[in-house]
Amino acid sequence: MAVLSERDAAPKADPGPAPRRRSAPLVLNAASILLGIGVWWALAALGIKIPAPPEVAARAVEMAGDGTLLDDTAASLGRVLAGFALGTALAVVMGFLMGWYGPVRALAEPWVQFFRTIPPLAIIPLAIVLMGIGEVPKIFVIFLAAFLACVISTLQGVVTVDPTLINAARVLGAGDATIFGRVVVPASAPFILVGMRVGLGSAWATVVAAELIAAQEGLGFRMQNAQLYYDLPTIFVSLITIGVLGLAMDRLLLLAERKLTGWQEQR
């Protein structure tokens, strides 16, 4: 019983090619990175006491050669991934609970904002007392940083969801759980992704602090260790590795974002 079935059926298809994806951003990305390296080189050449790119590159090759770099990267990456995944997952759930249930928000929000202002270094002693010196407290510190960075954003996302969409779901029979999974999460995807990107940055920025806790390897550990010897090339290699890994994970998040928020009308 197709009342209007022929109405919009089979519009004339245009055989013309779809517009090509612009590759300009990637080129500019690359240009920007080259420019940054140029500035760094110039600073080094101007006599500021930082190692020049070739020196750092040589050290990187050396560290890659003896396996340190790989081991460190693996150790830190594991911690960051674990902490980040747990932190953002909890942040999304807590963000929903806080946005949805007034009392949860009233109870939790002061502490979230309180702990956000406390540097991770100050948390470490307590983490050790409660969790020892193994992997758990390290991941916990990273988890906390990612969680705190992400939760405000998801909370705002939940609060900002267009209520008519929630109403539409409710009149279709959706309960709270369905609304959370099928309406609130997709509708606040832009906020959740901001939260995840900020949380990712925090997770990596905290890995150095986390690896103060009796780490035996890891990029943060290597950096602190090198600081004792004022071994600037090693510090730079660790920092840059952290930055590059952070950047790569961020690009993955952006890809995910494009998938998840493609429904949006964006500029």
Partner: protein, 305 residues
């Protein structure tokens, strides 16, 4: 920054404990700066390496560092212009019931890397015929050592007073397996005053006057121990009892005593012992040699009219 040869301004960095602050507290109280025509501003720092960096960038003229940072001047980044005290606060501590260093074999030992705590642990292990490989060394931040040891998460630590007092409140039965004085003659733990390289070369006169101030303050400190503690506590806005306890773990050096130790080469020996220690840890690739970074003659000459 840059030097100010003509001016009388002196920018002095220090750390807010008895070692770092006592001479400055005396100089202030006794108006020694004015006496030598100097206008000093003292900035407090929380560690030595940052001061070395500020010396290098010309933001400071003089600073104070502990034994753990001695490899920095040794590698040419600053000059040691005067010794200050000999540290006596470092310990290897272990959980109750530990008998000797040998009992630590295979145990977890926390240590703040690059500090005198690591130095004392190394010395103690060596004396017991062991190396770092015989125990499980975990590098940790100082504040985390307190938590980890108190919570019995580590079996031992290379650490120092007054932080050990805090731990003792939680673990009254902790045992001390080694202390600085165990290694008298073998190795000293000097705290020193440092200056920027160009301050020593380019502004000799000012440096000499600053050293004259320090010498007179040393004199006063040796003669008026209790009063110095009070003055220091006042400067640091700390409880005098805390500072007194701190001072108890310090052997202060007098100016004349230092002249003597410099003249007979003792100071140079101490410093080169440290150089080789730091060479062993890998922190120091090549020492410039104490004669190149310790300006003992300048110190001595500052005492002569």
């Amino acid at each position: 920054g840059g030097g100010s040869e003509a001016s009388n301004e002196v920018r002095f960095g220090y750390i807010g404990d008895y070692n770092g602050a006592s001479l400055l507290a005396v100089a202030e109280d006794q108006k020694l700066w004015e006496k030598h025509g100097l206008d000093a501003t003292a900035s407090v720092f929380t560690n030595g390496p940052l001061q070395i960096q500020a010396l290098g960038s010309g933001d400071l003229d003089f600073g104070y560092i502990g034994p753990g940072a001695m490899w920095l001047p040794a590698s040419g980044q600053a000059k040691v212009v005067a010794l200050n005290t000999l540290g006596n606060a470092d310990r290897v501590i272990a959980q109750p019931g530990t008998g000797s260093m040998a009992d630590l074999r295979g145990k977890t030992v926390g240590v703040p890397q690059g500090t005198s705590g690591e130095m004392i642990l190394d010395l103690a292990l060596r004396r017991a015929g062991m190396t770092k490989n015989d125990v499980k060394v975990v590098p940790m931040d100082a504040s985390t050592i307190v938590s980890a040891f108190s919570a019995k998460r580590i079996d031992a630590a290379g650490f120092w007073y007054p932080a050990i007092d805090t731990i003792r409140k939680q673990v009254p039965g902790l045992v001390e397996l080694a202390k600085n004085s165990d290694f008298r003659g073998e190795m000293e733990f000097p705290t020193v005053f440092v200056a920027g390289n160009d301050v020593v070369t380019g502004q000799q006169d000012k440096a000499r006057r600053v050293l004259a101030v320090l010498r007179e303050a040393m004199q006063y400190r040796s003669a008026n121990a209790e009063r110095t503690v009070e003055l220091t506590a006042e400067l640091l806005e700390k409880d005098p009892a805390q500072v007194r306890a701190d001072a108890a773990n310090v052997q202060v050096l007098g100016a004349e005593e230092l002249d003597r130790l410099t003249a007979d080469g003792t100071v140079r020996n101490w410093l080169s012992t440290m150089d080789s220690y730091f060479a062993g840890t890998g922190q120091l690739e090549r020492s410039t040699g104490p004669e190149n970074y310790y300006t003992g003659d300048l110190f001595t000459s500052a005492g002569q009219p």
